[in-house]
Every structure is written in structure tokens, then in C-alpha cells.
């Protein structure tokens, strides 16, 4: 197809002073540009995107925003409990997921497990779990474990498991294997080789990944309440439904401060790790 392109749009030929000729193929940029614009137009059509609606309705956003201020400070007393639920859900879920992924990440690493079938199955399992959005996982979990924070914890653990597991096995596969070989040669059990050769090499990156994941999980956990999985989302959904925007404002401010605090804490810890 591309050679056809070159037949239609002849390459540009430069002739040097000694008579040698160099031909430069015509740029593909116009074609790419046309395809991109077409794709954008089709997407706008399909999704019903309308600039006029956007412009005419955007003022309602500011009406809502205005209603949030001043926030109802007295409502804060009722925010604490679900806020703690959110933090507990993300912390516990992150820890469980991060610990659970370790044995599976080891099984998925081609440099540790020579059996290609095993590594392929475990890797496939990881990518399968990763395709599951946290919100969907939470919804399924509420059907299994009932409404409440347990479902949220499970959903976050599932996401953390898949995310940290993938990064961990990719990290293990790039590890320098010389020391692993040396420990095997001096009579270490394969598990000891992992403990004393692989672990020190991957630990800083692993901890950093887990902290990063925990950071994101705090944000995810705050919306899980929408599907009944406990935490801030529960009251957020309720207050938006009742149009109590001053209380919504209070919830959002509490969430914002929490996320900022946890993110800066985690960033500080991660900077210590590297």
C-alpha cells in the first residue's frame, strides 16, 4: 500500500554536484492528518458531542460550584466516619493486593520459572484481572459480600493485585541474574536465592509501586460508594441526589485535603526509596 503511495506521489529526487542522485520519499503526514481528523469527526458524531450544548449549559456548573460555598462545616462531623472508611479500605486493600501478588509475580517471571506454560497462564491471569475496572469489581463484590466496606476492600485488593503484580514480574524479569546463579552454586535453596538475590534488587521499585498504587486507590475508594461499596462515595452520591451542595462541598474539601496529604506523604517516602 505504501509503495502504491510512492507511485502516486513520486519521491523527491536530489541531484548532487557529482551527478549522484538521492531520492527522498514523500511524507505520509497528509494521509495521517486526514485519517486523524476523520476519526475525530466520527467520534464526535457517535458520542453526540455538541459544542452549543457545552457552551449554553456550562454556566450551571458554576451555579453548582457557587452553591458549594460556603461549605457546611457542621456536616464535617458526619464526614469523618466514611472518610476513615475510605482510607481504611484503600490501605487494607492495597496491602492485601500487594502481598498476594508476590507469589504470582514470581510464577509469571520467565527467568525464575522455566515452564513456559505456567508463566503464560499466570501472565494471562494478570492481564485478565487488570481489564476489570475497579468500579465493576466493587459492584461484583457487593453482590458477593453485601453492601459495605468489605466489598470496597476486595475491589481495591483485586486492582492492586493486578497492577502491582504486572509491574513486579516485569521488574523481576529485568533483574541481573548473576548473583542468583552464585547463590545456587553455593548451595542455596531456590527460594533462598530469590530471597537473597532477587528481593534486594526489586524491593525499592516494588515498594515505590505499591505506594503509588495506594495513592491512586485513595481516590478510587472515594467513588466506590456509588455502587454501595462503602466510604465517601456513599454520602457523596446521597448529597448530590438531594442537591445539598454545601454538604457536597464539605465532602469534596475533606477528600481533597486527604488525597493531598496522602500523596505528599507517599511522594516523600518514595523519594527516600530511590
Amino acid at each position: 500500500m505504501m509503495s502504491l503511495y510512492d507511485k502516486i506521489f513520486k519521491p523527491k529526487v536530489y541531484t548532487l554536484s557529482n551527478g549522484k542522485q538521492v531520492s527522498q520519499k514523500r511524507s505520509r503526514m497528509p494521509v495521517i492528518l486526514i485519517l486523524t481528523v476523520a476519526a475525530i469527526l466520527i467520534s464526535a458524531k457517535v458520542t453526540g458531542f455538541s459544542l452549543t450544548v457545552l457552551v449554553s449549559r456550562i454556566s450551571y456548573f458554576f451555579v453548582m460550584l457557587k452553591d458549594m460555598f460556603p461549605p457546611d462545616l457542621s456536616y464535617m462531623a458526619r464526614v469523618w466516619a466514611p472518610l476513615w472508611d475510605t482510607i481504611k479500605m484503600s490501605l487494607l486493600g492495597s496491602v492485601i493486593g500487594a502481598l498476594l501478588c508476590i507469589p504470582f509475580a514470581l510464577l509469571a517471571s520467565t527467568n525464575l520459572v522455566k515452564n513456559k506454560v505456567v508463566t503464560a497462564i499466570v501472565k494471562f491471569m494478570f492481564s485478565l484481572v487488570r481489564t476489570l475496572p475497579t468500579l465493576v469489581a466493587a459492584l461484583i463484590a457487593t453482590y458477593i459480600f453485601g453492601l459495605g466496606t468489605l466489598a470496597g476492600t476486595v475491589a481495591i485488593a483485586v486492582f492492586t493485585f493486578a497492577y502491582c503484580g504486572k509491574i513486579l514480574y516485569e521488574n523481576i524479569e529485568t533483574v541481573e541474574m548473576g548473583s542468583y546463579e552464585a547463590l545456587g552454586a553455593l548451595g542455596c535453596h531456590p527460594l533462598s536465592c530469590i530471597r537473597y538475590s532477587i528481593l534486594p534488587q526489586v524491593l525499592p521499585t516494588y515498594l515505590s509501586t505499591v505506594l503509588f498504587c495506594f495513592e491512586g486507590n485513595v481516590r478510587y475508594a472515594s467513588i466506590l460508594g456509588y455502587v454501595g461499596a462503602g466510604g465517601l462515595g456513599l454520602i457523596l452520591n446521597e448529597k448530590i441526589g438531594w442537591r445539598e451542595y454545601d454538604r457536597v462541598g464539605m465532602i469534596l474539601i475533606a477528600l481533597f485535603i486527604t488525597v493531598v496529604v496522602i500523596e505528599s506523604l507517599s511522594q516523600w517516602l518514595r523519594s527516600k526509596l530511590s
Binding site: 552464585a182 545456587g184 552454586a185 553455593l186 548451595g187 542455596c188 538475590s197
Partner: protein
């Protein structure tokens, strides 16, 4: 009293063999064919006594590494019998193999240390197989092991580097850390696979001195694969020459002359210049 401390008294090649009578390693008609059909070793017969210092020389791909790695079953052989400390290496695996490997130290060309941790932690890994399970998991080493590890570092002269990260050391220092790790396991035999190939000539000599020191003082059998013929002849008491998987010279290092070297290193196309 300690001749290795007085470098000037140390003239090579040495005639004196400080070897025991016990057979440490015994190859009987050993052969190795790789899964892709490449012949690694062919009909190797070799007897190595306790306390010997042996250099194995030969061109790249001649089978030096295969020979050395067969001894601790890092590579398994495909025919013949191979006895190491009276154990038939071909018949064991798992726990028994790990038990045998405890007695065999190994030194590598690229040092194979965990470069992201400290020197002392690397040396302590030499004790890991002796730890009970709970200690191994948490990495808690008893006091006496720490002392032994520090003593091993002292033996190779880098005690002051104990708490420094390995990636901050020079190549020669890293190879000494590897030697200390090997000493920590208190081996009967040390196998060294091109231990000085990545080092400059001066450092290479220092590391070879360490090997000699260990061989003489502690009576540990040393087998070294080495490309530097001068170093091989200078330090080893016995030289084994390998070509195309077969042993074509096995004798004292002072009997190795240009003839022997051109046999070992000579090329098929008639260019018989020894590489020295």
C-alpha cells in the same frame, strides 16, 4: 613463617606441592553433549587431589567452563561418572546436590554479587543455607556468622569496605567480596570461572595472590579457568589444557612449553602461533 607475606621469597613456578593424597574430584570417561548437539566435553578422564592448585587453559569455547561447571552440576554431564568428594554428581539433585554445593565455592568472571546491597550482606549470603527457616526469611544472622563474615573480608584485605554498597567498589574489590563470600561457606574446593578476565593486570595479580594465599594457608583445592597463560604458569602447580572438549595436556606447569601451548591454542588453518 608465612611465606606469602614476603612477596620476594615467592618465586614461581613452584616445585613443592602441598597436596593431600585424598582424591577430591574424579572424572571417568565424562562426556557432555548440549541439547542442540554441540559437544561440550568428550571422554574426559581427570583425577584431582585435595589441595591442588590447577589452571585450566584453552581457547574460548574449548570446554573450560563446561568442565568447571560440571563439578558442581551447574551444567550436568551426559555420560561417564563424575565423583566429587566421593559423591556421584550425576545421580544427585535437590537437597543432596545443595549439600554438595556447600563444599564447593564458585567465583565468576562478572563477580555475581548483589550490587545493590552492602559488602557484608553479600558475604553473609554464604551462610544462608545453614540458617534455620525463620532466620532465612527475615535475614537475621547470628553474631558468630557476622564475625566470620568480617574475618573472611579481613582475609582478602577489604575489611574497611564491609558496610559500603558493592556498586561503589572497583572490579578488583568486588572480586574480593566474591572470594570472601566463598570463604564464608568454608569450602573444600573453589572453582573459578575466568576470575581475572575482567580485571586489569595489576589487580588480576592481586586476586591471583589471594587465590594462592587461600590454597596455601587453608589447603583449599583451587581450579581456575584462565585466559592469561603467564598467570596460569606462574601460579598453578598443574595445568590442564583443553581443546574441543578433550584434555590434550595434563601436567606440571613448569613442563608447559611453546610446543604444548601451540597444541592447545593452535588453529586448524595452520596458524600455530601460540597466544601469549
Amino acid at each position: 613463617m608465612l611465606p606469602f607475606l614476603l612477596k620476594s621469597e615467592f618465586h614461581f613456578p613452584r616445585e613443592k606441592l602441598i597436596t593431600g593424597d585424598k582424591i577430591m574430584i574424579n572424572f571417568k570417561n565424562v562426556g557432555k553433549v548440549y541439547p542442540n548437539g554441540t559437544v561440550g566435553l568428550k571422554d574426559v578422564n581427570l583425577t584431582i587431589n585435595d589441595g591442588e592448585f590447577i589452571a585450566i587453559i584453552g581457547r574460548s569455547g574449548a570446554g573450560k567452563s563446561t568442565l568447571i561447571r560440571a563439578i558442581n552440576k551447574m551444567h550436568s554431564v551426559t555420560s561417564g561418572t563424575l565423583l566429587v568428594d566421593d559423591v556421584d554428581v550425576r545421580t544427585i539433585d535437590g537437597k543432596q546436590l545443595r549439600k554438595l554445593r556447600r563444599k564447593i565455592g564458585m567465583i565468576f568472571q562478572s563477580f555475581n554479587l548483589v550490587t545493590r546491597t552492602t559488602v557484608i550482606k553479600n558475604v553473609l549470603t554464604g551462610f544462608v543455607p545453614d540458617l534455620p527457616f525463620y532466620r532465612s526469611i527475615f535475614g537475621i544472622f547470628p553474631q558468630e556468622m557476622k564475625i566470620k563474615a568480617l574475618e573472611a573480608l579481613d582475609k582478602v584485605g577489604i575489611l574497611d569496605k564491609a558496610y559500603i554498597r558493592v556498586d561503589q567498589l572497583s572490579g578488583g574489590q568486588q572480586q574480593r567480596v566474591a572470594l570472601a563470600r566463598t570463604l564464608a561457606q568454608n569450602p573444600k574446593v573453589i572453582l573459578a570461572d575466568e576470575p581475572v578476565a575482567a580485571l586489569d593486570p595489576v589487580t588480576a595479580k592481586q586476586v591471583m595472590d589471594d587465590f594462592l594465599h587461600i590454597n596455601q594457608e587453608m589447603g583449599i583445592t583451587v581450579l581456575i579457568n584462565i585466559h592469561h597463560v603467564e598467570l596460569a604458569l606462574e601460579y598453578a602447580t598443574r595445568v590442564i589444557g583443553i581443546k574441543e572438549g578433550q584434555i590434550i595436556y595434563d601436567g606440571p606447569s613448569n613442563k608447559v612449553d611453546d610446543d604444548v601451548l601451540s597444541q592447545i591454542y593452535g588453529q586448524k588453518d595452520g596458524n600455530d602461533e601460540p597466544i601469549r
